[in-house]
Each structure stands twice: as C-alpha cells, then as structure tokens.
C-alpha cells in the first residue's frame, strides 16, 4: 500500500510518500500561485528521491485554498439564499451580520418563505410549496446557479430543505444546492452562514479539484484523488468539491493527525510551529478535538465542525524585538531565507535566536555571534511562557499532558514545560501535515431521527447505514470502526423518538496490483 500525501500551505507545499505505513521520504517545496504547478513540483521532487515501486494506491491532497479565498475576498460566487422559517426570523434575513465587502461579493438575493419545524420535531408552519416554486423560477431568471436552503430546526428534521432542493433541481437546470443541515447544528444564522460560504466557494472548489486532477494526470498517476477534511478524514474529490468548507481547517488537522501517527500517541496536546504561527490542538483518540462554539471565518460567524485550535504569532520567521522582549506577531514568512540574520538579511527572527542558542544549525552562525547571551535566553524564556500558556488553554482538564512538537519551528519548544509531563519529537515532524494527509481515512456519517426502536437498535441501524456510506466512499469494509455515537431523545414525538448520530472511519481500500500500476 503506497500513498502520497501533499499539503498545499500558504508558504510551503509538502509531500510525503508512505509505504506500508512507513514514511519513505518527505520533501518541502515552495507553494506556487497556480495550484497545479506547486503540486507537480512537489511530486517531481518526491519522485527524484524515492522509489515508487509497484505504483501508488491513493493521492491525498490537503489545501488552505478555500479558506484563503474567504479571508482574502477573492473567487467567490454569488449565492441565492432561501430561508424557510416565516413568519419567524424575518427581522434577521440571510447575510445579517456579514462584513459589508464579503456580503457584496456573495449576496445574489434572499428569499424567505413559510415552513420549518420546532425544537420538539413538530411542524412550525406548513411548507409553502407554491412560493418555493415561484422563487425557483425567479432564481433561474436571474441566472443564479448556487442556492442555499436553510429551514428552521433542519438539523432535527431536514425534510423541508430536501423538498425545496428537489424543486430547485426541477426548475433550474444545472443548479447546485447547499442544504444547511449538512453543514451545521442548531443555530440558524450560523448554520446558514456556513452554507452560504460553502455555496459561494463551490465554483472555486470545482476548479481547484480539476487542477488537482490535471496535476495528477501530468505526473502520470491513475490512483484515486482524495481531499482532506476538517475532521482528519478524506473525501473523494467530487464530494470535496461540493463541500469546500469542510476543507477549511484541514491544514492544522493534518498536522495533528500526522503528529499522532508519527509518534504513535493518540491522547496528547500537539503544537505545530511553522514559519508564522504556532497552532495548538488537543488529540483525542488520534483525532483533533472539535470546537463546540461559534467559529469566525473571514469575519462571518459560523457553526460547523472545526478542530478546536489556538493559533498564536510564534514561528521560525517571527520578528523579535529585544528592547521590549517581544516575539511577533509579525513574521518574515517565506522571505526567511532572505531576511533572517543567519541568511544574510537584517531582520532578527526566532530562527536567528534558535541558531544563536545552538538549538538548530542553519545559515551562517557567525552572523548572530554578537547577540548577547542574556537577550537570547530572555527571548527563549518568553517563547517558553507563550507555549506553556497555550498548552494549558487547549487542555480539557487539569493534569500534566504529553506534548508532541512538530513543524519546521519545533526547535523553539524547550524540553521542560510547566504542565507537560513529556515532550515527543518525531522523525519527519517537519512534514507532519503531509503525513496526516497521507494516512487519512474515509468516514461515513449518519445523523437521523429514529422512531419505534430501542436505543441500541437505533444505533445499530445507524451504524449499518454509516458503514455503507464509508464503503461507498472508498473504505475497506474490514477496517471500519465506530468513532462517534450520540443519541438525543426528542420529547413530544410519539414512539420513543431519538436523534442518532454515528460516525465510522476506515482505511482506504487497497487497490489490486494491476489497478495500482502507474499511468
């Protein structure tokens, strides 16, 4: 079983080759403006130093492309937003609370109609089918192709969203519909926001994935393409294109998954120190703990499953100010090799401090020889305090933890930290993100309401459905395990109604030797 994991970051594109569970080789290349070029370059660099043997079984790509589009306000498509909650919620229509510039790019029109459900599963208002059909025609006339449907309490009962989606598909040829219940839980405005961001990114995601496919064929791979997700699993390319927001946080997630894999530790805090930031997260059962609160993306409040991360301005490229004894948040970023002192530049960075202290050997040591030992140690002490404080912030409870330090700037993490029992450093830790992509598994999820069965029967049925979905997505049936099972009783509905959420994950199915041949 050979896989290639590629992580396309803002600065670097990392690639690793994984064979039978071992990292064979890892490379780092610069990210390019066009997605394809950087991936091809990373692949070529990897190929130059490794033996692909009998071929590659799967290619997994992680990218920060979609979240960057939102943050940088580019490549967004206009979206038609339909809200199904009248006569409630009218005072706060879709796009309420959005930054003006972003709303201008994404708002293709809003419509509100009667329908939706109550918290106990009862209908809130009858669904206004006639209005839905009339709106579908207006959307068609306006030439809008991306539509979002948000119904009140759809996470409990998604039927109104499904009905309207099928009306839209009947009336608008080639329409792309994002239903909000697929993107978040209770919290109508935040769930709708996530759905709108998703819809406005689909065109970009489709283009990016065509780029990935193109890169794949240029390098002569026939292996299936997967895209990594916020939860540490992968989705087939076509599904990933329909849900770009699920790739938003895949970069840090991949690092954490990679850290777990490389260290063999499944319960720990992970710190990924890069060029500009250090990301702190909490591993549970080898997966990042998810945030259960509102997450702001590009100034928009959203509520969907993202890893619970803390990001601070501490990295190898962080600028250092000796007079105030402060680090960052500014960084020289990808200009490290021009601007840092040890590389002949004139900016004092954390890399220079690390070299002066003998933590790492990079560039020309002599260029930092005149830094005073007292200054170096007080800056490193400051870095230590920043790391200690944030390790503590991501903990779920008191007690000492294991800390896994990965990323190119991991040398900044000292050996003794308060609240940390032991620190693990791993080989290939600099490419933990690409490793995380390469090892990613496939998941299957079910979230639905069951009536008239016992709790264990309902979970068993949901499990079977989830297994089916995972196998369909490319998982090997014998590798499936259940990683989440949650049931919530729903009052006022007859027959012991409960909402059951089950998630299974499994390894990507091995391809036969014939399938795995290159080209």
């Amino acid at each position: 079983m050979r896989r290639i994991g590629i992580d396309v970051g803002g600065t670097n594109t990392d690639a690793v080759l994984l064979a039978d569970g071992k990292v064979v080789q890892g490379v780092k290349t610069a990210t390019t403006a066009d997605v394809t070029g950087g991936i091809v370059a990373a692949f070529e660099a990897l190929k130059a130093v490794s033996d692909f043997g009998s071929g590659i079984d799967a290619l997994m790509i992680g990218t920060t492309h979609f979240i960057n589009a939102v943050v940088q306000r580019r490549n967004l498509t206009k979206v038609a937003a339909i809200r199904v909650a009248l006569p409630a919620t009218a005072a706060l229509p879709p796009f309420t609370g959005w930054p003006v510039d972003l709303a201008k790019l994404a708002n293709g029109g809003v419509w509100q109609i009667e329908g939706g459900h109550d918290y106990d599963g009862r209908r809130f208002m009858p669904l206004d089918i006639a209005a839905a059909r009339a709106i579908a025609r207006q959307i068609r006339e306006r030439g809008l192709k991306y539509v979002v449907v948000t119904a009140m309490f759809s996470p409990l009962d998604a039927s109104d969203e499904a009905t309207i989606a099928s009306i839209l598909r009947e009336e608008i040829p080639g329409v792309s519909v994002t239903c909000s219940h697929l993107l978040g839980g209770i919290g109508l405005l935040e769930r709708e926001n996530a759905a709108i961001l998703n819809a406005s990114l689909i065109a970009l995601a489709e283009e990016a994935i065509r780029g990935f496919e193109h890169a794949k064929s240029r390098i002569g791979l026939s292996a299936p393409l997967f895209v990594t997700q916020n939860d540490g699993t992968v989705a087939e390319a076509s599904r990933a294109a329909a849900f770009p927001v699920y790739s938003f946080a895949s970069g840090p997630t991949n690092s954490m998954r990679g850290a777990a894999y490389l260290s063999g530790i499944e319960e720990a805090i992970v710190v990924d120190v890069g060029g500009t930031t250090a990301d702190f997260g909490h591993l549970r059962l080898g997966f990042p703990r998810e945030a259960n609160a509102v997450v702001h993306v590009g100034g928009v409040r959203t509520l969907f499953r993202m890893p619970d991360l803390i990001s601070i301005g501490l990295g190898g490229g962080s600028r250092v100010d000796l007079t105030s004894n402060t680090i960052g948040p500014g960084s020289v970023g990808y200009r490290l090799t021009e601007q840092a002192l040890v590389f002949g530049g004139d900016t004092l960075t954390m890399t220079d401090v690390g070299v002066a202290a003998g933590l790492i050997d990079l560039g020309d040591r002599r260029r930092v020889a005149n830094l005073r030992a007292g200054d170096v140690s007080s800056i490193l002490h400051r870095a230590k305090e920043m790391i200690e404080e944030n390790v503590d912030r991501v903990k779920a409870d008191a007690g000492d933890v294991t800390l896994i330090a990965v990323g190119g700037g991991a040398f900044l993490v000292p050996e003794n930290l308060q609240g940390v029992a032991c620190i693990k450093r791993v080989e290939h830790g600099g490419c933990a993100n690409a490793v995380g992509a390469a090892i990613a598994q496939v998941s299957g999820e079910v979230d639905q309401v069951f009536q008239g069965s016992t709790r264990s029967e309902a979970i068993a049925t949901a499990r079977k459905l989830a297994d089916g979905r995972a196998i369909e997505a490319g998982a090997g049936p014998e590798t499936l395990i259940m990683v989440e099972a949650e049931d919530t009783p729903i009052a006022y509905l007859p027959g012991n109604a409960m909402r059951v959420r089950v998630k299974v994950v499994g390894d990507i199915k091995s391809r036969t030797p014939a399938e795995a041949l290159p080209g």
Binding site: A91, D118, I186, R393, V394
Partner: protein, 358 residues
C-alpha cells in the same frame, strides 16, 4: 430625553451582557436587529424616570424562552412591538414609554426594539438591575405591585392575554406554560406600570449603566488599556479574583441550568481558588468553604483580556477570567428584597453579606 447613537447601542449590547451576570441570554440577535433598524433610519430616545408623569402608562417587555429555541427561531423586533400593541388593545389606552423587566442579557435590548417600531421612548430603568430567572425576582414583585395582565405573542398569530393571576408565582407558572406551547419562545408585555410606580419601584438609570459599562470596555480595548479596570472604575465595582477555570460541572434541572465552576488563582491570587455556583446566573462565590459574595450583589465573570462577559452556558476549562462584583439595587437589600432574590430564594441557607459597605 436623549437620542441613543449607534455607538450607544453597540455599547449597550456589551454592557447588558456583563449585567447578565452569566445568564440573561446573549444580546447578539437583538443587536443585529437593532443595527438594521438604525440603518433604516430608526432612532430610539431614552428618558429618565423623572420625565414620566405619575399617571403615564409604561409598557414592560421581555422575551421568554429556551436559549436553544432562540438560537433557531431568533426574535423579531415586530413581535415585541406587537406584545406592547396587544396590551394597549387589552387596556384600551396608549403607552407613553416602554421599559425592560431585566437589563441583563438580551432582554436589556428588547424595549429599544419595541420603541423603534412604536415611536415611543425607552425609560432608563428596569426591575432587576441585572438578570434573574423568574418573574417574582423583580423590584415590582418586592413592591407587591400587580403581576397582571400579561400578553404573550407567537409569530403565527397566536396571542394570549393573562388577565388575572393570584400571585407573581402563579403568573410565572401560567405564562411559562403558554410559552412552552408556543414552542418555548414568546414575546411578552408584562403588567403595565404607571409613571408613579416606575418612580417608586423601578431601578433607575440601568440602561445608562449598561451603556457606560460597554463604552468603558470598548474604549479600553481601543486604547489597549485594561478593560476590567475600566469597568470597575465606571461602576464602582470590586475585583474579587483573577485566575483560570479548572473545572465546570453543569446539569439541567427544573428548567434551570445549574452547576458550579472552579477557578484557580493566577498572579496575585496564585495558590488560591474559588468556586462559583450558578442557576442560570452566577449565584454564590465560595472561598475555602465560605461564601464571599452572593446574590443580589452582581457576580460577573469576565474574560481577563477582553473584559467580555462569560456566560454560565459557555464557560469552559482553561479560560482566563477575572471575577468582579457590582453593587445590587437598593431595593433588594431590604429584608423583603432579600426574600425575593437573596441566597435563600435560590436554596442556600446562608445570610447575605454585601461586599459593598452600606
């Protein structure tokens, strides 16, 4: 009478959340709604209680409901305005002004939403000076004013008038039942008050207090100064403890969110710890087994860095917090006031000792 600016309503949202003492519901939706009304040209005027004539009729508004339902159904400003109009229809007379039952949390902003539609001013007063979970925990109940009538409104055209109730507790029970049937969310107009009643029993200048708190926090954050010092200065509060959350325990019983959190000291408070009990709002702070602050004194748990209030529903391990106390309204410091909102009203067999010298 003064007109509230856009900055004032932003500040009100921040300050009302602080005065929510951990509960009261987030003012976020109300703020979004009010921003939209302001963008469309509406403006809200604030009047002092002294500007009321004794026989003026004043509407008292609030939203009742479950936080979960509010997240999904939100609250429409026209609904709260409708609760007031329905009361006018029931009484056969017009209101001169509208006021909040509780300044703490989202309900602190509801009168502004109603006022924007109805074109009447908001009275700078409320009946709690903070947030409390039940109808009898108000200065009006302490004053033994009539608990009825009450209008309760659902957006689907269902409107209920509770014309009589024997006691405040009965009003709480019956109106809660109506609210549940509406899907656990209702806009309500509580028992109307006369100008004289508001002057005698209302807690004055609480809207201004919330706005001042919000301005203090926003201004300190703009200047990168300490927002908590600004809060304490703005409302003569007391800093109790600074530390990080090390334990949170929650359970829902009888419709209340109850629980306790433990905060371990940092800085000057290193090596010490406090525990805070909550019932929707923060109720008692314990240190070494002894109560150090309790209701009706306001217990506010704030983010040490931003000064933003932290709610009992969202507090979690690792948060850096500063706990402060703000003085309670005078009306609750009397024996009768304490019967309604003192520690015993929340099931604690302890005496109330204010941290503020009387």
């Amino acid at each position: 009478m003064r007109q509230l600016s856009s900055d004032d309503i932003e500040a009100l949202a921040v300050g009302a959340w602080i005065l929510g003492t951990g509960g009261g519901g987030s003012p976020y939706h109300a703020l979004l709604n009010l921003r939209r009304l302001y963008e469309d040209g509406s403006r809200v005027n604030l009047i002092d209680i002294d500007e009321l004539h004794d026989d003026d009729a004043v509407a008292v508004v609030s939203v009742m409901g479950a936080p979960l339902v509010i997240l999904e159904r939100m609250v429409d400003s026209r609904l709260i305005a409708r609760a007031v109009s329905a009361m006018e229809e029931h009484l056969g007379r017009k209101f001169k002004a509208v006021m909040a039952i509780e300044i703490g949390g989202g309900n602190g902003m509801q009168p502004l939403l109603a006022a924007a539609h109805l074109g009447i001013p908001v009275v700078d007063a409320d009946a709690m000076g903070r947030a409390y979970p039940e109808a009898q925990m108000t200065s009006f109940a302490v004053g033994d004013l009539s608990p009825c009538p009450l209008t309760s409104i659902d957006p689907r055209g269902n409107e209920v008038v509770i014309s009589k109730s024997a006691t405040w507790k009965w009003m709480e029970r019956v109106s809660r039942k109506v609210c549940t049937e509406f899907g656990s969310l209702a806009a309500t107009c509580k028992a109307p008050r006369t100008g004289a009643e508001v002057k005698k029993w209302g807690i004055p200048r609480t809207t201004t207090k919330a706005i001042n708190l919000g301005h203090a926090v926003n201004e300190a954050n703009r200047r990168h100064a300490d927002p908590i010092a600004a809060i304490l200065k703005a409302e003569s509060g007391q800093r109790l403890f600074t530390g990080k959350v090390v334990e949170v325990e929650r359970r829902t019983t009888e419709g209340f969110l109850r629980g306790r959190t433990v905060i371990e000291g940092l800085g000057d408070d290193r090596a010490a710890r406090i525990e805070i009990d909550f019932q929707n709002e923060w109720v008692v702070v314990w240190r070494e087994g002894r109560p150090v602050v309790s209701t009706p004194d306001l217990i506010c748990v704030l983010d040490s860095e931003s000064g933003e209030a932290i709610g009992t529903e969202t507090i979690r391990y690792g948060q850096r917090t500063t706990v402060i106390a703000l003085p309670a309204a005078q009306v609750f410091l009397t024996p009768r006031g304490l019967e309604h909102v003192g520690p015993r009203a929340f099931g604690y067999d302890i005496d109330f000792n204010s941290v503020f010298p009387s």
